[in-house]
Symmetry: C2
Subunit: 333 residues, 2 copies
């Protein structure tokens, strides 16, 4: 069994913990939270071996194979470095790192610790529906781009309107809509189409100074991918990939729960796989597979592909912010 | 009865002729086509008084109150000037004129002929569903922008792929996706939100040198309107206007046949008016109303509003082309 530790106790960590339990390939060896009460409650709810209020103590004492990091974005880097230093593999919630400099330092550190694996927790690109989209894309006669949308009103925007500054809406925690929701459709675009030739970003800046919504253009020379995302309003629009007369439609570029292909006449064929017991189960299983058999040829190839996606997404998110002059304090360290 | 003449014999002229017949306020006094056979067939089918193969002869002899111009875009200007010179009002298919210089010349000519009315045939912004959208927009607690889509595969793109150069896909005829389909969602945006502060255009240029599809950004300071359009692929995505938690959804930013409002919980309310007998009937009736009673206070106000929309659309289409360095031969005259 893979001994996993967790950082963070919100809904996404809860979902990951349930996914690793479903996979039956991990033991929850430790959970970390700054506050004893929160750590204990989370440990008890999920039958963890032990709870910790000091992160490095957990790394030193819990005998972990891998740590899952779902803290505010700006904290990922330091927590990831501390784990790699101790030869503990890392699963980092997307976006894993705030900028290119952080990513470069992580890659250099990984070179010093060749047994350590780094995974970015981009759950949707590990799902059967992502594979269905990839397969349908390959069968298109031509690709004329895509329009991807992921836009959900965040209850924390109510707090912003009440004058508060929740972490996910601040630059101090490397937050904003691009980092929080935009990363999903951008990950999808890069996993499907690779690295864009150039990018442009049109953010809508809210009172906290972060982007509340925005449009990102990923330009591939032959075609464009337009990415529409936001946390201050709700969208019901399909995401689409354009063939010639054929169109692949996706319910949402973040959820990927429903995928169809429309033929030239508009007739729809459902390409969706069965509903998942837990949307994070496929990534939990993919990461377990690599951790259990890191030298398996397929696992080596998959790991390298995921690493490349992560590097490209990091670069694109950074380039998008540069194009809109949107800086994080984390960029100045 | 308003004596109307027509220029062009394709589907859009046929639809206009049927709309004016339904309105019972026009007489089809003349139809013009370069070819005798085409002109005769169109005249006979629609019980026109007379057919013409010379445009100026029709203007001089048919005793017209108004002429409807649906020739290739690059020909509109000269045909419109010839009509205004003879104190004949004009209904010009959108986009009416290729650039700002043409529009400025038309406006100067109209000043010399104060009895002449100029209408741009933007059918969708005259419909009850447009009014339903406007009304729902006014009731939103805030406006956080819109994403408008109009994308339909054109059978004439088959011809382009076969090596031909159909007019609508050439710069020589001031064609391309922006002029042909993009003008609909851009008209909608300008009629709803007014003149944008600045614009950007990301076209996909096809083998003819014209844009086959593209994304236009209309930036309003507080919010953005993103406009996704094309003639080389098919979209099934909703167009949307974002309130706070509320969203107005539109089946297509060109057709406006189905309009809904979703509340904070996602519950939809249908705002659509009854289906139209002919999508051009509301504009035919609106224009007849102004031609019949040009001094009526409401008519004066409506006419001025439509004129302002037309001027702004002309400017925005031109600015979009400039931003993407997409020039027409008509720009150099």
């Amino acid at each position: 069994m893979i001994r996993i530790g967790t950082v963070g106790t919100n809904w996404i960590t809860q979902q990951l913990v349930e996914a690793v339990a479903l996979s039956k390939r991990y033991t929850l060896a430790g959970v970390y939270s700054r506050h004893q009460e929160t750590a204990d409650a989370f440990a008890q709810k999920n039958q963890a071996e032990k709870s910790y209020t000091d992160y490095e103590t957990m790394l030193d004492q819990a005998n972990l194979d891998v740590v899952y990091i779902a803290s505010p974005n700006s904290l990922h880097f330091k927590q990831a470095m501390a784990a790699i230093d101790r030869d503990i593999s890392i699963i980092v919630e997307k976006p894993a790192f705030s900028n290119r400099r952080e990513m470069a330092a992580i890659m250099a550190e990984l070179k010093q610790h060749p047994a350590v694996k780094y995974f970015e927790a981009a759950r949707h690109v590990h799902t059967p529906n992502f594979k269905a989209i990839s397969k349908a894309l390959m069968a298109l006669p031509t690709v004329q781009g895509a329009a991807l949308t992921y836009m959900k009103y965040s209850s924390r925007y109510d707090k912003v309107l009440d004058g508060e500054q929740p972490n996910v809406f601040t630059k101090e925690f490397s937050g904003g809509a691009l980092q929080d929701l935009g990363v999903y459709p951008i990950y999808l675009a890069i996993a499907l189409f690779g690295q864009p030739e150039n990018v442009a970003f049109f953010p809508t800046i809210i009172v906290t100074g972060a982007d509340g919504k925005g449009l990102a253009m990923l330009r591939y020379g032959d075609f464009d991918v337009t990415v529409n995302f936001g946390k201050t309003s709700n969208s019901y629009a399909l995401s689409e990939i354009y063939g010639l007369k054929e169109t692949i439609t996706i319910d949402s570029a973040g959820e990927l729960t429903h995928v169809e292909e429309r033929d030239a006449s508009g007739q729809a064929t459902d390409l969706s796989a069965a509903e998942l017991a837990n949307p994070m189960l496929p990534e939990a299983e993919d990461f377990a597979r690599v951790l259990e058999a890191p030298d398996d040829k397929q696992n080596v190839a998959d790991y390298q592909r995921w690493l490349q996606w992560s590097l490209t997404v990091n670069q694109v998110l950074f380039d998008l912010r540069v194009s809109a002059n949107l800086k994080f304090p984390a960029d100045q360290h």
